[in-house]
Symmetry: C2
Subunit: 350 residues, 2 copies
């Protein structure tokens, strides 16, 4: 539990002081040379290198103090059950006369604390501004103050439910769903609800709103592990879409210090580069930056095999991309009536 | 009702054909010279200039056909109770071999149809991707298929409810709230919920997520007119925040063809430029573009009096700005414990 982890860090500081030693933190190094891809865990992890933040060293004293204060502040947030944002933390530091040059400096210390505790900042109640959403037959039970024990079914509001602090901390109680469909775009999320994809395919639908926020990735992981639901991902048919799926599946290099945010068994089912021709989708030419992004990803160890590799190659060959909305060329419900059933069927054999 | 308006336009086309005339549409002109500020309505409106889209004129035939098709497509969306997006419409046109060069061209025709019908596109089921959210004791009754007659209370999910097509078309049934607080940022929206601002101040809380989407402005108008609730707006203390409030109050020049989106009695209560000194808020220096924006707004007829004028002047004088999160310097609940009560009290006398 997070409070125990914080207590452990605090006890270590007291121990050092009792022994007449300068207290210090050991922070796992997040430098590129210490980030490695772990094939067994199927995600990036940190190696063994660590950097010290010692109160003995003048050049480390500043970051030691900042980290110490942040641990104190995180403890308070969790105890008082208050949520906060990266920006809030920056301003809150001023109340304690702890100096941060600017918000990037405090953001960086927050990631340091994540690395020290090996827990995402959402666990110590620091949430991002962006929110994605969810819809489907899933009953949850809240744990936030004022709502303890209350239950809601996430099919009651047909515009979907925001994935904020309350939903993130809720217990997942019950569902009749048999899979989760994560989709990149709000417009399609709404279409899927209108077309009753939740009922027709016994699905919980998640709008990732582009790159999935971490609270959403954490929820996907819980749906997969606790509710035993397979996770299928649909994105635009471009290199950014492919990578949105990859991040849900195996995280990102800059969150290599965390293990709570990946769904290694999640399947990217489209829009594949090969679907563009197969489904005769209207396309848009790639930009220079799309093409550069493909070359970048081709160096990533995760793109060395399977569809991850072949679809990148096809994108590079055709130099065109297609959006999820492109299916509307064949009618607004073409994507849910034709494309989705084919892809869900296919996902069972992959 | 929207379908009647569409029918009227269609009948006119048939009439013209019966009389052997070339059918045409008259589209209110949205050129700058035809946009005037109406002091009585307290919003921008269009003057009497109109432009023709005639099937007789080769240079107008393309836009005539596009508009005709869009009216047909809108009719179908409304009949079939399907929602759609700007991008969907662009791709859908390809199913009918109606040519649009690119999405901006179809977006523009959508605004033409808004102007012809004097109804926002949300009425013909074209919704934006972005969603903001709402929380508080408000019972709504859905009208969307599958949910007709079902009711939900918008205080049941403490992360807030998305304002999408279902909520936009729902009946507002009942509330114990006595005011609406619209706030610019998701982080503060969550804070307000956690601090029970809804209960303490009998408020419905709306997250505008920056510039309020039109569905959100329309909902604010309905809360004001149908539920008789005053609307109070809180934004960051900068020129963009001031204008977010102004747009909720009196719309924008580029929606001058619509009347459904303004709450002329809404009150911007902060963060005012004068609050920065009064509440000793930490500030950020303005950028060049902030300052340019102030000079731009000083030419706007709506910024010629009252706080709109004086606060702009103070911003220009201090050349600094403060975010809503700046109150965290005095503790995370300073904004809800101290600032908000003062401002709500003050709002009664303005």
């Amino acid at each position: 539990m997070l409070l125990d982890l914080l207590k452990l860090q605090g006890a270590q500081v007291y121990n050092d002081l009792d022994k007449g030693k300068f207290p210090q933190f050991s922070v796992p190094s997040r430098s590129v040379s210490n980030i490695v891809y772990d094939k067994k865990l199927r995600q990036y992890i940190l190696g063994n290198a660590a950097s010290l933040r010692s109160s003995r060293n003048m050049s480390q004293l500043r970051s030691f103090t900042q980290l110490m204060w942040l641990a104190f502040f995180a403890n308070r947030l969790v105890h008082e059950k208050k949520s906060s944002t990266l920006r809030d933390v920056y301003y809150s530091s001023q109340a304690f006369e702890v100096e941060f040059e600017d918000q990037p400096e405090s953001d960086n210390i927050i990631v340091d604390l994540e690395a020290v505790l090996a827990r995402p900042r959402e666990d110590f109640h620091i949430f991002p501004e962006e929110r994605s959403s969810i819809f489907g037959d899933l009953t949850i039970e809240y744990t936030v103050p004022g709502y303890e024990g209350k239950r809601t079914n996430l099919s009651n509001h047909p515009d979907g439910y925001l994935i904020g602090p309350s939903l993130s901390s809720a217990e997942l109680v019950d569902t009749s769903a048999e899979l989760v469909i994560a989709i990149e775009k709000g417009g399609l999320f709404t279409r899927f609800i209108e077309e009753k994809v939740d009922k027709k395919f016994k699905a919980i639908i998640v709008d990732t709103a582009g790159q999935a926020p971490r609270a959403t990735r954490y929820l996907l992981k819980r749906l997969h592990e606790q509710m035993k639901l397979p996770v299928v991902i649909l994105t635009d048919g471009d290199v950014y879409g492919e990578h949105i799926a990859m991040v849900i599946k195996s995280g990102s290099a800059n969150a290599a210090h965390l293990r709570e945010l990946t769904v290694p068994d999640a399947k990217w089912m489209g829009v594949w580069a090969s679907d563009i021709d197969k489904f005769k989708l209207p396309t848009i030419p790639m930009t220079e930056s799309d093409i550069k992004r493909i070359y970048d990803l081709q160096k990533d160890p995760r793109y060395q095999e399977g569809i991850w590799k072949t679809e990148l190659e096809i994108f590079l060959k055709i130099k065109r991309k297609a959006e999820l909305e492109a299916f509307s060329k064949y009618g607004l419900t073409n994507i849910t009536d034709k494309y989705l059933p084919q892809k869900l069927e296919l996902s069972k054999s992959l």
